[in-house]
């Protein structure tokens, strides 16, 4: 059992090393946003908050009629939080308020490319974990989603974020060409 934790520790160490390298290269500076971006980010928080409230209410309503739990303890809360993150991120991306003015990632310490590489890594790891969970029949236990259900949720969430960044990149490139003409 103990050897199973080694890859997890290794992955966490790798991510910390990657972030530390990026921080050394770009510095832990505070991300700078202009007034329109700040306003959009505020709206994004508001929509994320409202979405999470609606999801929580929906889950509570379902729980009122179906007495049996649908997921392992804590998973539903994590999924609702991730939906909130998705709303905030996607709204910010499509309104050009995700990456800061100095083109750093949302934390202010990464370039967009490094951020995309990190996202690809997260999607790949979670996709592998999802396939593994399906193969070993560990995703569902007695009709209840186990804690392993978090892997497909993570994979889908970060994949959607990646796709959104890609779509917005091409939209901006086209708009920029149009604006200069």
């Amino acid at each position: 059992m103990t050897w199973e934790i080694i890859p997890v520790v290794l992955v966490i160490a790798l991510v910390i090393l990657f972030l530390a390298t990026q921080a050394k290269k770009y510095g832990w500076r505070k991300a700078k946003y202009d007034e329109r971006q700040m306003m959009i980010r505020m709206k994004s928080y508001m929509y994320a908050n409202e979405t999470m409230i609606v999801c929580a209410l929906a889950y509570m309503s379902i729980g009122f009629f179906i007495k049996k739990p649908l997921t392992a303890p804590g998973i539903e809360a994590l999924i609702i939080a991730l939906i909130g993150v998705a709303v905030f991120t996607i709204y910010s991306i499509f309104h050009d308020a995700f990456f800061s003015l100095d083109k750093t990632g949302p934390g202010g310490a990464m370039s967009p490319l490094s951020y995309i590489i990190l996202l690809v890594g997260i999607v790949a790891m979670n996709a592998i974990a999802t396939v593994e969970s399906i193969r070993s029949h560990e995703l569902l236990k007695d009709g209840i989603l186990t804690h392993r259900a978090i892997h497909p949720v993570f994979a889908v969430l970060f994949l959607v974020i990646l796709i959104s960044i890609g779509i917005k990149y091409f939209m901006n490139a086209r708009e920029s060409r149009g604006a200069e003409q």
């Binding site: 202009d34 007034e35 329109r36 050009d96 920029s176 200069e180």
Partner: protein, 63 residues
């Protein structure tokens, strides 16, 4: 409502949206949104744009 006066003043100075954005310290998309009339800038940003384009507030932002 589109701000055509801003767009033409920028074009007269031969400035791209990106260049104007860099001068006033905002993103290119913010300048684009102001020109398209999708965003109402603060007075602080209006003044910065006017200074960058050598125009007055009346010339760029008054009907």
């Amino acid at each position: 409502m589109k701000n055509l006066k801003l767009k033409s003043a920028r074009a007269a100075k031969d400035m791209s949206q990106q260049l104007l954005a860099d001068v006033v310290g905002v993103s290119r998309q913010t300048i684009n949104a102001i020109e398209k009339g999708d965003y109402n800038p603060s007075i602080k940003l209006c003044i910065a744009i006017c200074k960058a384009l050598g125009k007055t507030l009346d010339e760029l932002f008054w009907e």
